[in-house]
């Protein structure tokens, strides 16, 4: 599902919440429990978003999805390990017809459950079943205030539907949580997007600046806004927060490319997040499968407890003992743990290198170059590679090489 809805911004909120040091609220110690279980139940999706962070070779994983029973078992096992927040995501989770069963089980187990959806496939009947089953909230992705941009960036005609679904969510007494991925095509509409969200009665809105993984990395030069646009968007957001009198909570996820320090990706490798993918792979972050020489556990053949605590994959980048220079002796390493391993590998070819976003990284020029490329009219004029089965098959078959060759793994 949409960018960052499960990633960075959620992580920031966790840190924010658990590190509050005041009047007896616990400061967080290093969590070694998977508080957040993200179930990417399918990679099938009726939308074709240009910024989708799903793996470009997702087509390989659309035939071997876990069964309902396997999901239920995974939910039970993760709950025993301490998972409380459950994100049901994808792809479009509603393409599975067993989400109702998963929701019921989640409720029984005491999860706080969240359906992360594009809205396609949400009917009165299904939302009523979710409500009865105990689903706690629904997060809907929105793309723009204009039909034109919505339909363009998702490569589908879904504008009217999104508005209908928003009303349905509200109508069933759910808190309205909107996620808007921000990119070149909608960043100029920030104020209007916020006003729309407010008018729809949203309680939360997440303005998630595109992070470059999966399809969005392939389309990086086409999607990246300018630094000036990002600053302006942030200014408008702050102004809206202060002036509008709206009760809506706004999360603005800053784009790491325009920062000189990386994000603390997933709040640390194997610290709080556990992702189970459509085919059962257990991952510490969405894109971990791009990393070389890593064997990720799969729920079909290993126990989740072992996967989390003992598997070599989850232990590989826990803490900071794996670090090299400049991170190893860096005084700021606690802040970001050297950034994102996947981003390091994709861009530099070395998973243990400092995240190139960092200005201390010897590879920082790669980020600067990417920013320049996005402003190069010839490069930026290349067509967007939309996320769809046909393009995924092409990428698997080794086509579209000119768009993926500069990366050290298939995004």
């Amino acid at each position: 599902m949409t960018q960052a809805s499960l990633g960075e911004s959620v992580v920031q909120k966790t840190i924010h919440a658990t590190q509050t040091q005041n009047n007896g609220v616990a400061a967080s110690v290093t969590q070694t429990q998977p508080l957040w279980l993200l179930a990417e139940v399918t990679y099938r999706c009726p939308l074709h978003c240009a910024f989708c962070y799903n793996p470009t070779d997702y087509d390989k994983h659309t035939q071997n999805e876990l069964t309902t029973e396997q999901w239920i078992q995974a939910l039970r096992d993760a709950r025993k390990l301490g998972a409380i927040q459950l994100g049901i995501s994808g792809g479009e989770p509603l393409l599975r017809d067993d989400i109702e069963d998963i929701v019921v089980e989640a409720k029984k187990l005491g999860y706080y459950s969240n359906l992360i959806t594009s809205g396609v496939g949400l009917t009165e009947k299904r939302i009523q079943a979710f409500k009865d089953g105990g689903l706690d909230h629904i997060q809907l992705s929105m793309h723009d205030i204009t039909e034109e941009i919505n339909n363009f960036i998702t490569n589908t005609k879904t504008f009217e539907l999104k508005k209908k679904v928003a009303a349905m969510i509200k109508g069933h007494g759910y808190p309205m949580v909107l996620n808007v991925v921000i990119h070149r095509y909608n960043i100029g509409h920030m104020k209007e997007i916020l006003e729309m969200a407010d008018a729809l009665g949203a309680e939360y809105i997440e303005l998630a600046n595109t992070q470059y993984y999966g399809w969005s990395l392939v389309n990086r030069s086409q999607l990246m806004p300018t630094k000036e646009q990002v600053d302006e968007a942030e200014r408008i957001t702050n102004e809206f927060r202060e002036k509008s009198g709206s009760k809506m909570k706004i999360f603005f996820v800053v784009p790491d490319y325009f920062s000189d320090r990386p994000k603390k990706c997933m709040n640390g490798w194997g610290e709080v997040f556990m992702i189970v993918t459509a085919n059962g792979d257990v991952l510490p972050c969405h894109s971990a499968r791009v990393l070389p020489n890593m064997q990720f556990p799969n729920v079909k053949d290993t126990d989740l407890g072992w996967s989390w605590k003992d598997s070599p994959a989850f232990n590989k980048y826990r803490g900071d003992s794996w670090m090299k220079e400049p991170c190893r002796t860096c005084s700021e390493k606690e802040n970001d743990l050297g950034g994102c391993r996947c981003q390091s590998f994709l861009l530099t070819g070395d998973a243990e290198a400092a995240d190139p976003v960092c200005s201390k990284s010897p590879h920082h020029h790669l980020i600067e170059q990417a920013i320049l490329d996005s402003r190069n009219p010839t490069i930026a004029a290349q067509p967007i590679v939309f996320r769809n089965d046909k393009n995924s098959k092409k990428i698997i078959a080794g086509e579209l090489k000119d768009r993926v060759d500069e990366f050290h793994a298939l995004p």
């Binding site: 959620v10 658990t18 007896g24 609220v25 616990a26 429990q33 508080l35 301490g82 706690d136 939360y204």
Partner: protein, 94 residues
């Protein structure tokens, strides 16, 4: 705008879409809400636990004093917890 003056006669309850529960795996109370959670120390959890939409701030203070007779300066901590929870919108005034 900030209505943070906690009065003895005020009644508070958990905000809509927030859930408060004991987590065995963490040995602590937590508040869950869309996109987030917060782990509460024993003392903080004891305050939130008592917000049933009926008990006034005064009732909660009295009850906690009775339950933890040895705790010093407890009233200040309790009010502090109310203030924090309110500023974070975990709770709302009834």
């Amino acid at each position: 705008m900030m209505d943070n003056q906690i009065q003895n006669a005020d009644i508070y309850t958990l905000s809509p879409h927030h859930r408060f529960q004991w987590e065995e795996a963490q040995s602590s109370y937590v508040i869950l809400f869309p996109e987030g959670m917060v782990k509460l120390h024993g003392g903080a959890g004891e305050v939130i636990k008592r917000l049933d939409g009926k008990a006034t701030v005064g009732d909660v203070v009295a009850d906690l004093k009775a339950t933890f007779p040895d705790a010093e300066n407890i009233e200040k901590d309790i009010i502090g917890m109310y203030e924090l929870a309110l500023s974070k919108t975990w709770i709302r005034k009834v």
